[in-house]
């Protein structure tokens, strides 16, 4: 028998303050680490998390590059991180945010449960979700053979033939996980080599259940009620082919969860929040952004955690000392 999750649904924090010294939006590695640092710095700290504490960690089957854990299941790391934060006095509220008011003296957010919470400072750590390719057929078959969550839906493709689109760390992580369930996994990648880190790439290249279509892009998804075949094009030779598949998992990049802050904060065209590179303060004073949601070069668990530590420490130094 596999794991038993005993901790991921806990009762919501019942006694809330109106105003927190540090209000953290999102409970992934960046947000929880910021919480740990802020709380240890003596600030009253609330983390708002609409899904599961640990954020994207929960969706990562296996992590091999977060030291000092040579191998750790994402969910386990998420639980350890959450326990650590709670031990340090971080309050966690299981609500998402629907609105943010970042002008004026008091910063405020409205949650999906209709609650308003105020913060003297805010750290945005809402993270990112997986980006869609943008095909019309991708939207049509979403949930009908097109998936963005291998841990959720992989089990429904037992002994089936599936494809993974992408060549980065996420794509390869998920392909390796899916290869344990599916009959075969075909990685469709637009370049002639993987962008994923070498150790991970080699693992996939050695896996007998995984094969590669290099220089190939997915151009259409076909089927009656669900995915039946994929249409692909070789970007070099321009030749097209159609091949039967039962499902396709798409990992082609990240979409920042920053819609709530559009217009209020400076962002890149893609919606990544621009921060001061040293302090991680955004274009508005007392508002910070950490982790995947901010404009940065390297998005890793460890860099998100570092961001959290930097932002919280700077907040203490600049606003509370």
């Amino acid at each position: 028998m596999g794991f038993l999750d005993i901790g991921s649904i806990s009762s919501s924090e019942r006694t809330l303050k109106d105003t927190y010294d540090c209000l953290i939006l999102g409970g992934g590695p960046g947000g929880l680490t910021a919480g740990i640092y802020a709380s240890r710095g003596g600030l009253s700290t609330l983390v708002l998390e609409k899904g599961m504490e640990g954020g994207t960690l929960n969706f990562t089957p296996l992590i091999e590059n977060y030291p000092p854990f040579p191998e750790i299941v994402g969910m386990e790391l998420a639980q350890k991180w959450t326990e650590h934060a709670e031990q340090m006095g971080v309050a966690i509220l299981r609500e998402g945010i629907v609105e943010a008011s970042l002008t004026g003296e008091t910063l405020a957010v409205k949650t999906d449960q209709g609650r308003t919470v105020f913060g003297k400072t805010i750290i945005i750590s809402t993270g990112s979700s997986y980006r869609q390719l943008g095909l019309a057929s991708e939207r049509r078959f979403a949930g009908k053979g097109v998936s963005y969550c291998a841990l959720c839906d992989g089990a429904l493709f037992k002994n089936k033939k599936i494809a993974v689109v992408g060549g980065g760390n996420s794509a390869i992580d998920e392909a390796l996980y899916l290869s344990q369930i599916a009959d075969s996994v075909t990685i469709i990648h637009r370049r002639d080599q993987l962008r994923a880190e070498k150790a991970l790439a080699e693992k996939a290249l050695r896996n007998p259940k995984i094969r590669f279509y290099w220089d190939t892009v997915l151009t259409d998804i076909e089927g009656a009620r669900s995915v039946e075949s994929l249409v692909m094009e070789n970007v070099k030779t321009k030749t097209r082919k159609r091949e039967p598949f039962d499902g396709v998992f798409i990992y082609v990049g990240l979409e920042p969860r920053s819609a709530c802050f559009k217009g209020a904060l400076e962002m890149t065209e893609d919606g990544f929040i621009i921060t001061d590179p040293d302090t991680l303060e955004t274009s508005i004073d007392r508002v910070f952004a950490v982790g995947d949601v901010r404009k940065k070069e390297i998005r890793q668990i460890i860099t998100a955690a570092a961001d959290g530590a930097i932002a919280a420490s700077f907040i203490i130094k600049k606003y509370f000392l």
Partner: protein
Amino acid sequence: MPLLKEKDQQAVREKFAKELKNPVKLRFFYSEEDTSEETTITGELLEEIRGLSDGKISMETIKELDGEKAHTYRIDKTPAIVVSSNGDERDNIRFFGLPAGHEFASLLHTLITVSNDYHVELPDTLVEKVRAIDKPVKIQVFVTTSCPHCPPAVVTAHYFAMLNPMITSEMVEANQFEDLSRQYGVQSVPMTIINDGKQTFIGSRNPEEFFKAIEEAL
């Protein structure tokens, strides 16, 4: 060998000691034809949970799928679990399939909520709307046990059933009930089916949005 590791047993015991209030009843349905490993393990798992509750949780095991009890509780497949407060005979909060992985969290949370006078964590305005439903509603939430998005969907559906006996809420483990999953074309979870397909949606929705789908199904 117990299914729950010692550390987890301790955590569940502590959680129960702190959060269980009134007695809770677990009804476990299995059938002799169903010899699946999942069904056997479900029974063992429930027995272990019961043992960690300091007498707060009682369990009734019901074997015959075609028997009177299964009929009374509207059980058509196994393994099945019905959770209710010890004093009442409600059958509208249900789990089909082994609630392992993330669904174990759904089960624990359901037990605790039932034990606390069905006190759900939903906004008051929504509670009123759910209570006002006066037609039968059946919610099936298809899940896999490795799906981190799934427990919130199951818990929301169960909350609705706790508030209103007209609403029946079922967790259905998609892999253990393949035919049913195929019938509804389940290829992504959580997938929520309301009134046998009147409304269907994929993914986890906040409770307000979830409730809108119920209104649309009526």
